[in-house]
Amino acid sequence: MTVDPPTQSVARPAVRKRAQFNTWARVRFAATLGAMLLIALSALLDINVGTFSSFSLGPVTVACPLGVAQILLASQTFVPTLALAGLLGLGLTIFFGRAFCGWLCPGRWIFNHAPRTAATPFKARVWVQGGIIAGVLGAAVAFHNPLFCIVCPVGAICRGAVAAGAGGSIVPSIGWLGALLSLEWLSGRSWCRDLCPVGATLSRISALNPFVKPQANPEKCRPCLACMKKCPEGVNLSQTNELSTCTKCFACQGACPRDAVEIKLVAKRER
């Protein structure tokens, strides 16, 4: 171990913090894996649990808000149960924020490995993601078909899990994932941060979410950008309180060398 200057020798808990980050990541990976196993097991046992496109627990069904919007726009007919399921998905997103992306989405562990560009400024990303959402919904209207649902990596992986449980082929899922991975690699962007229409939709909705948000304690924080470098969404906690893209993965807490990141259970609304 190197000899530190006396001013910085007070706290150097780097080893412990790294262990904490890995613990959260392990818990999140276990949650994702458990959800996938649940989907496959429900297909094996012929139980109506469904997938992340539309998830059922007993009589209650929650559906992906983007998928519901696409279906309603594509079929031009109003199905009350489907709209209710979409509203429930919207409500869950307001309550939990983008926690789905960090805790349940399997794409998190497949994409997002080597983004070759720095994070785009937040405002520019809002416009780009708005354009992506508008393109997805516009394609649904134009072709009378929820086209993105076919390509959607979440849907594709869930279809693969269902096929694995029911005895089908997982080759189509792997094919779609390969195509999307090469798209991500070619664009040089991170899929989850910049390109994913589902993530963009959840980001816009979770602007209303007040719960479980990381905040930098201004007394301890020095803007070293360690949190921003670890954050999959590129959020710089020392500068911004705009946390609608936060996926509640708590990587920032493990990354901070000064223990400055505090998780606020109920955050005050800014602006």
């Binding site: 469904g50 539309s54 069904t61 559906a63 007919t77 399921a85 009378h144 029911a166 089908g168 070619l186």
Partner: protein, 197 residues
């Protein structure tokens, strides 16, 4: 992390690698993935016109997951289909009740649903080529009784009685293998019939 701020640089080789890989993968998939002889047969509740079904289905896979006979599969574009290879449909309509999007609708008379029509390939059928096999006939006698056999034990399908459940495909002893021209070794296949509604 060292290339965090590096601008995106793509060489022509990168570009060719990605798009060449995608194109080669697509060509290989279209050759290698077995295509059915006839258009895909939709699940029993798909009584809407084909365009409405496609507009309402987001491929969530619930119908595939709940089917107690494993009769349903999803194709590459996430649409569910029934081909009889993995199981056959007894019109229990559990998939219809599981469908969250309204793509599958409960028919007025569920047990009278006509899913498809079974078509026997006389060049593949053991009873037609040689003699002796009565698997599909003996299965169908217990169900719709739509398959009749003549004095030489060769099977015929009654188009009025057949409801396309796929049991004959399921029991056909010909191996379900991919061949170059036929794509499935089964001697009987399900042919989708257009719905009028």
């Amino acid at each position: 992390m060292s290339d965090h701020n590096k601008p995106l640089q793509l060489s022509r080789r990168d570009f060719l690698r990605v798009f060449g890989g995608l194109a080669a993968g697509g060509v290989a998939a279209s050759i290698l993935i077995p295509q059915p002889r006839f258009p895909r047969v939709l699940p029993p509740g798909a009584i809407l016109p084909a365009e409405s079904f496609r507009a309402a289905c987001n491929g969530c896979g619930k119908c595939v997951a709940v089917c107690p006979h494993n009769a349903l599969r999803q194709n590459m574009f996430a649409a569910p289909y029934l081909d009889g290879l993995s199981g056959w449909c007894d019109l229990c309509m559990i998939c219809v009740h599981a469908c969250p999007t309204g793509a599958l609708v409960l028919p007025a008379e569920p047990l009278k649903t006509k899913l498809a029509l079974a078509v026997i390939d006389r060049n593949q059928c053991i009873a037609w080529v040689a003699t002796g096999c009565r698997f599909c006939y003996e299965k169908c006698v217990t169900l719709q009784n739509a398959i009749t056999i003549d004095e030489d034990y060769r099977p015929y399908v009654d188009e009025q009685l057949c409801n396309g459940c796929g049991a004959c495909v399921n029991v056909c002893p010909r191996p379900d293998k991919v061949t170059r021209d036929l794509r499935t070794g089964k001697a009987v296949a399900l042919k989708a019939i257009p719905h009028d509604r």
